[in-house]
Symmetry: C2
Subunit: 163 residues, 2 copies
């Protein structure tokens, strides 16, 4: 498995990791979901070099996750806005936030609370099944080879083992 061709692997984790599998990229995306849009704002918040930030933003634009939108003419200036494809990464960020809230918080508690606008309550994200609506946990999922997998014969695997 080569990093340069990770987005061509027959695996949706590898392909996604090709887009977001980088510490700064994930923190840039976090800021995007917090309405940060301008280069200088990202840079101030993250304290990374202009070169590194420009590279990560360019990559996110190339993958269709962010869109570069002009907000000023003469001189032309741009900001970075999440596309629909980018907004669809919200469950990834919410899962990451929640794991951090539960497993990495210190005695002060959670750094941020999330309110569900529809119901008005502070909530935790819960991963559920699109068919039955039941909660999904690691011990409750079987994986099968799908049509996009071309290198292995079909078989079922138990995921994960607890033996």
């Amino acid at each position: 498995m080569k990093w340069a061709t990770l987005d061509k692997e027959p695996c949706s984790v590898a392909r996604t990791v090709a887009v977001i599998g980088d510490r700064w990229t994930l923190l840039i995306l976090r800021d995007c979901f917090l309405r940060v849009r301008r280069f200088e704002a990202f840079q101030t918040r993250l304290g990374i070099t202009r070169h590194l930030l420009a590279d990560r933003l360019r990559k996110l634009v190339a993958f269709g996750v962010l869109e570069r939108v002009a907000y000023q003419d003469s001189p032309k200036r741009y900001e970075y806005v999440l596309t629909e494809r980018g907004l669809a990464l919200h469950p990834v960020l919410m899962s990451i936030v929640h794991w951090g809230d539960v497993h990495m918080s210190d005695a002060r508690g959670r750094p941020m609370l999330h309110e569900h606008k529809s119901c008005g309550h502070v909530f935790d994200p819960v991963m559920t099944c699109s068919v039955c609506g039941g909660r999904i946990s690691a011990r409750d999922v079987l994986t099968h080879d799908g049509p996009g997998l071309i290198r292995r014969a079909p078989r079922a695997r138990r995921t994960p083992s607890s033996s």
Copy 2:
């Protein structure tokens, strides 16, 4: 924001990214959820150097995500097993898989299908609200500063903007 102290930032994304914000770490975790446990198996599947793999596994053990368990005496050999803390990363991996399935698949379709053991159906993961059970989307969440945030005065922010 410094990479070396990311796990001390008052932000659950930054703290989690300190653990999993690395391409190989995410692919190692994917393999863990597919029951891969042994050093040589990880190495064969990922094709990374022993040094890099050993470093990432050591880090995951140090953060309590994986446990090193002896499976053979003389010579002593170990395998790497997800802890409860590690199993709790399942929604992160499922969200990543799902985004890749929808946004990075080629014409052949999904490389892998997930079956919910409880209901027996192939499913998509759906992020829902722990209070009302409704679906969570990026446009339906407000963020508020929590008790663990120490650097900003309380205020509500709309997340994300679609203006």
